[in-house]
């Protein structure tokens, strides 16, 4: 199985807990014979590298330097994420089983790749805009929520890290509960659960 993980933070660029999480996830995936690519942002360490653990990392920078907010920054960065993912896809003989997207930032790229190339994606939720900016309903927050909604709508499977988060997604976005899988990083079956999600998203056909 060939998987591409999209995350806006990855070591050495650590913003919150996603960097650490995607790092240990990708390491575990390689150990389970998953060909693992990871596309992330870095302001200058751009290009393709292979980590000692076997994860292939593509770091992209934003082509537009000046921005008026995080939204314009994210929306222009997505084209470089798409370019990196498309390169992986074409170099791998047009075969990527699934894209796993962490939080809302790279949902636009995942949605385009799905519609253009038919690559299904998993939307892995770490946090929601409604929790980060509680009850904020300015256009800025609503725009982020609309991108999150697009992710819930277009994804093949959604993962949440807890039952509570699953219920929150259902409550806020009216996503069908059965579309959301709880995958707890502290569970003993963590990686197995994740692999099941990938297989489910890829249509059950792909095997590790």
């Amino acid at each position: 199985m060939r998987v591409i993980i999209f995350t806006w933070e990855y070591p050495p660029r650590i913003v919150g807990q996603l960097a650490e999480y995607t790092s240990s996830l990708s390491t575990q995936l390689v150990k389970n014979n998953v060909e693992t690519y990871l596309v992330t942002y870095h302001p200058y360490m751009t290009g393709v590298t292979e980590e000692p653990n076997g994860v292939k990392i593509v770091r992209v920078a934003n082509s537009v330097r000046t921005h008026i907010g995080v939204l314009t920054w994210v929306l222009t960065l997505n084209q470089e994420v798409e370019r990196a993912a498309a390169n992986i896809y074409y170099q791998a003989g047009k075969a990527v089983d699934v894209v796993d997207v962490y939080d809302w930032h790279f949902i636009p790229a995942a949605v385009t790749l799905k519609n253009a190339l038919g690559i299904p994606f998993v939307y892995s939720v770490d946090s929601l805009e409604d929790h980060r900016s509680h009850e904020a309903n300015m256009p800025f927050n609503m725009a982020i929520k609309s991108i999150e909604w697009l992710g819930f709508y277009e994804s093949a499977v959604v993962t949440a890290k807890s039952e509570w988060m699953r219920d929150e997604i259902v409550r806020i976005y009216k996503t069908p509960k059965e579309k959301i899988q709880v995958v707890s990083p502290t569970s003993k079956t963590w990686i197995d659960d994740m692999l099941k999600v990938y297989a489910q998203a890829a249509g059950g056909a792909a095997k590790t």
Binding site: V64, T66, T72, L75, T76, T112
Partner: protein, 395 residues
């Protein structure tokens, strides 16, 4: 596949008619054209128009804090829809053709996911529109334009002036730039019912008044204020009515100036006019004035020429290339009230001169600004790009 943020009936500026006529003429020449554009109230989401496949996508799906952010969010949706359309078509899209930065991110993304050449027509630039880059928004837009031209296989501009401007603004190599002029649909002006013009004209000007026409957005770069400031000088020599068509952020300011000059009885602000009235007005005008300070192309001058109205234009940008001084129109110094007043007065006081300008301008339109000829030029560019592409590792 064309990407454009405006397509009739959505008309904001010059891109809409440009894409409309270019796509129709390409279709007539046997090129299959798919136009992906923003939605518009009352316009169908999907239609086939003279052989052109039109798709209108929801452009207000995502709430946006400001215009520039709206553009990128609209692109998110446009790209998603265009990707789905292109993937489902029985035939492959050969070329993505973007019009201006307003569809930059959609165009760049589609190029990479489908690995097909991207072309861009740069109708204007932020640095030109704003006469410099003063805010973060303007810098961001300019950098987006630079990125778009970087990603494009060829950059098409509508005038030699724009070719050199874009080359300077983004540091592009010569062989990446190509000039294809804008065209004008001269045939629609032949359909204007000439016998109605006399009555129509009286609603704007009395018979003894000459009719001076300005058509354009009321924004700084279009220079309506230069025309207004030249009015007293023109009125010294000739009795005229000044009709100003269009709207924009300077509208209030301009009408205040007119009032303070005591010229309310000589200046008429019509606001945005429907197409038929506008064409009738262009056919009725004794002179059409295009006093722009910055004008990448100046399609309004071509329209006036097609309507057989003599033109007075400022010698700037693409306008200066359209008009040959003393032959197809009069060129005056940009942002120069005395020069503009001189040009307008000269045309209005000499009927023989006026008629010779009309005839030569009309002939020039047919020779150089016919959409069929422009579509053929564009098709040759596509063929050239596809020839190069076929030898690349993407093919």
């Amino acid at each position: 596949m064309f990407l454009t943020w405006e397509f009739p009936p959505r008309v904001i500026g010059g891109i809409s008619p440009h894409v409309f006529y270019l796509s129709k003429s390409l279709a007539k020449n046997g090129v299959k054209v798919h136009v992906v554009t923003c939605d518009f109230p009352g316009a169908p989401a999907r239609e086939t128009l003279d052989g052109v496949e039109v798709y209108r996508v929801d452009s207000y799906k995502n709430p946006s804090p400001d215009f520039a952010t709206w553009v990128y969010l609209m692109n998110l949706n446009m790209q998603k829809e265009a990707a789905a359309i292109a993937a489902k078509l029985p035939e492959k899209i050969d070329v993505f053709h973007a019009h201006d930065w307003l569809v930059a991110t959609a165009g760049i993304g589609l190029k990479h996911v489908f690995r097909k050449p991207l072309l861009v027509t740069m109708h204007s630039t932020e640095i030109g529109r704003r006469d410099g880059l003063h805010t973060s928004t303007e810098k961001m837009i300019s950098e987006t334009e630079a990125w778009l031209t970087y990603e494009a296989w060829k950059v098409i501009c509508c005038s030699q002036y724009m070719v050199s401007h874009v080359k300077w603004a983004f540091g592009l190599p010569d062989d990446k730039l190509v000039m294809v002029p804008n065209g004008v649909d001269w045939a629609v002006y032949e359909k204007v019912r000439k016998h109605e013009l006399k009555d129509f004209r009286t609603t704007f000007a009395s018979p003894e008044e000459k009719l001076v026409l300005f058509v354009g957005r009321l924004v700084y770069e279009k220079g309506a204020h230069v025309l207004i400031n030249s009015i007293p000088k023109i009125l010294e020599k000739v009795n005229a009515k000044f009709v100003i068509v269009g709207s924009g952020y300077m509208k209030e300011q301009l009408s205040t100036i007119v009032k303070s000059m005591g010229l309310e009885h000589k200046v008429l602000f019509t606001g945005f006019l429907d197409e038929e009235s506008l064409m009738k007005l262009q056919c009725s005008a004794d002179v059409s004035v295009v006093p722009s300070l910055f004008e990448p192309f100046g399609i309004v001058a071509l329209e006036a020429m097609a309507a057989k109205s003599p033109v007075v234009v400022s010698d700037t940008g693409g306008l200066g290339e359209i008009v040959e001084h003393d032959v197809t129109g009069v060129k005056v110094y940009p942002n120069n009230v005395d020069s503009l007043a001189w040009g307008v007065t000269k045309v209005l006081t000499d009927e023989k001169y006026r008629n010779s300008l009309r005839e030569d301008a009309y002939r020039r339109i047919h020779e150089r600004y016919d959409w069929d000829k422009i579509a053929q030029q564009t098709e040759r560019i596509y063929e050239g790009v596809l020839g190069e592409y076929s030898k690349s590792f993407w093919a």
